[in-house]
C-alpha cells in the first residue's frame, strides 16, 4: 500500500483504520479458514460427526493456512517497503 500521497492527518486516520481492520481481517481469516478447510477435508456425508481422518485433515489445514497467511503478509510488506524505497529514490533523482 503506497501511502506517500497522504497527509499526516490522513496517515493517523489510516492507522486507526488499520487497527479496526485487524479485527475484520481476523474474522475474514476465520471464516475463510473454516470454509476452505471444510471444502478440502470434509467429503463424507454418511455420518453427521467428523471422522478422525477428517479431524486430522482440518487441524493440518488450519495450521498450514495460518502459516501461509502470515508468510504472504510478511512478503507483501517487504515488496511494499522495496517499492516505496524505489519511489523515494526516483523522487530524489528528479529533483
Amino acid at each position: 500500500m503506497d501511502f506517500s500521497g497522504l497527509s499526516d492527518m490522513e496517515r493517523s486516520r489510516m492507522n486507526a483504520f488499520i487497527e479496526q481492520k485487524q479485527m475484520k481481517d481476523f474474522l475474514r481469516l476465520y471464516a475463510n479458514l473454516v470454509d476452505r478447510c471444510f471444502a478440502d477435508c470434509v467429503n463424507d456425508f454418511t455420518s453427521k460427526a467428523l471422522s478422525s481422518k477428517e479431524d486430522t485433515c482440518v487441524n493440518r489445514c488450519v495450521d498450514k493456512f495460518i502459516k501461509h497467511s502470515e508468510r504472504v503478509g510478511l512478503r507483501f510488506g517487504e515488496q511494499n517497503a522495496l517499492l516505496q524505497q524505489q519511489q523515494q529514490q526516483q523522487m530524489m533523482g528528479s529533483q
Partner: protein, 86 residues
Amino acid sequence: MNFGNFGQQTQVQSNVNMSMAEQELEMVTTFIVDSCYRKCVPPKYQDGELNKGESVCIDRCVAKYFEVNMKVGQKLTAQANQGQLR
C-alpha cells in the same frame, strides 16, 4: 457462532463484540449455504424438490460445518492465548 469465549478472554469492548457477532453471522450464512449446496446438490435438475439423499446430506453437512467452525475457533483461541497469533 461460538468463539470459544474468545471475546471475554481478550476483554474486547462489547461493541466490538457486537460487530464480530454481526459479521460472523453474515459470512457464515453465505458460506455454509453455498458450501453445502455444492457438496450435496448435484446440478442436474430433474425436479424442484430436495430428494431424500440430498436432504440427509444437507443435515449432516450443516452439523459437520458447525463442528469444523467450533474446532477452528477453539484452535485460534488457543493460539491467541499462547501469543502465537497476532
